[in-house]
Symmetry: C2
Subunit: 231 residues, 2 copies
């Protein structure tokens, strides 16, 4: 039975976003696995409630529902041990946990205030209203005010990427000579931004930019083929 | 031939500090290896110049000199493959590179301005003068001004540890159920601070505090037995 993946989309069902769904999509590609996409919108809570989740990604493997990108990565690693490893051993699996936390904070959390106002335009009216209301409550101000001055505040985001940048000066990927799940953790955030926002997050001479380019081309350009902005 | 390790000390040769030397000392303990300590002071450049280094740690294995804590960790992993693994596989070794960069920036770089003024008191006069001159040039102000207000600025340091903290809420060590080199990367910074400064870096209810306690006790209390402050 084919795998199925609930993925966050807006008005364009061919344009999945969500940093966490992209982590899973890249992990599936790494394992050489396809998954039937089930487009899912923010307010469509009822569709995933039976799987004990209110967020995506949700992976369905027959009768098994797997919730949360980190749990899904571990599920794929354990369920398909003969496919290329996502973690490269027990040490990598353990260390990826902290890289996952760093990716959530420095990448996803760091770029969110830079692109948040670009997201509602990609959503259906009901989802746009939900998104604006919940996110403006979180930030305590209108989304347009959150992104105001982003040409300057992007410098803080870029500086925060130093641990990633320094690493990429010594090796091609966080996984070493080839990418592994550590790379997909970070890349998910950049791909999310690329899909929804024309804002330029990275300078073209940044090693992080070159690394992102390589990941856009990985797996026959899976990520690059997804509609997005040229950034 | 026994291993030998150049370790940074001040007036007390039994009190090695340096976050990088402690990474190596813990890595040696993890491998079940001892090393004869060669006490080394900041201005003693001549002692390590023959080994093509101006910094410690420097590990001597017979005629081989290995320079830089990261290079030493890899050397130990490759030279003693039958001993407990520092990285837990190729994936862990690759991912530890980024954790090493994060440890340098967020832990070592984060706590340095909180403890720097406590260091000269542990040094011989010639080293204290060298240390003060070079570090005041780096900060652009007297060391006492750097640490002024640390009761407040420590909060920024603590907040910066969130990726470590979040991870330790889900697993006992960065290495999983047991520590590995990822833990020693971070712990080296805390042990450095403990040896030279009475300043309290961590709140007692912080999961990072409990993790540090466990590492102080590891390997028969190797780190705890080293003279230091109760913090």
């Amino acid at each position: 039975m084919p795998l199925k993946l609930f993925e966050l989309v807006g008005t364009d069902e061919t344009r999945p976003f969500s940093p966490f769904c992209w982590r899973t999509r890249m992990a599936l590609a790494h394992k050489g696995l396809g998954a039937e996409s089930i487009p899912w919108c923010f307010t469509d809570k009822a569709a995933i409630a039976p799987h004990q989740s209110d967020k995506v990604p949700v992976l369905l493997d027959g009768d098994t529902a797997v919730v949360d990108s980190w749990v899904i990565a571990n599920y794929l690693e354990d369920s398909f041990p003969d496919r290329p490893s996502l973690f490269g051993g027990a040490g990598g699996r353990a260390m990826a946990r902290m890289l996952n936390a760093w990716g959530d904070i420095a990448v996803v959390g760091g770029l969110f205030p830079l692109i948040v106002a670009d997201i509602p335009g990609h959503l259906k009216p009901v989802d746009a209203a939900y998104f604006r209301k919940t996110r403006e409550a979180r930030f305590g101000k209108p989304l347009e005010e959150v992104v105001a001055g982003r040409d300057k505040s992007v410098e803080i985001f870029r500086k925060g990427l130093d641990p990633l940048r320094l690493t990429l000066k010594t090796q091609a990927y966080l996984g070493g000579d080839a990418p592994n799940y550590a790379d997909y953790i970070m890349f998910g955030g950049f791909q999310w931004a690329r899909v929804v926002s024309p804002f330029r997050l990275l300078a073209a001479d940044d090693p992080v930019y070159a690394w992102r380019e390589r990941l856009l081309d990985a797996f026959d350009g899976t990520a690059r083929k997804s509609p997005g902005y040229e950034v």
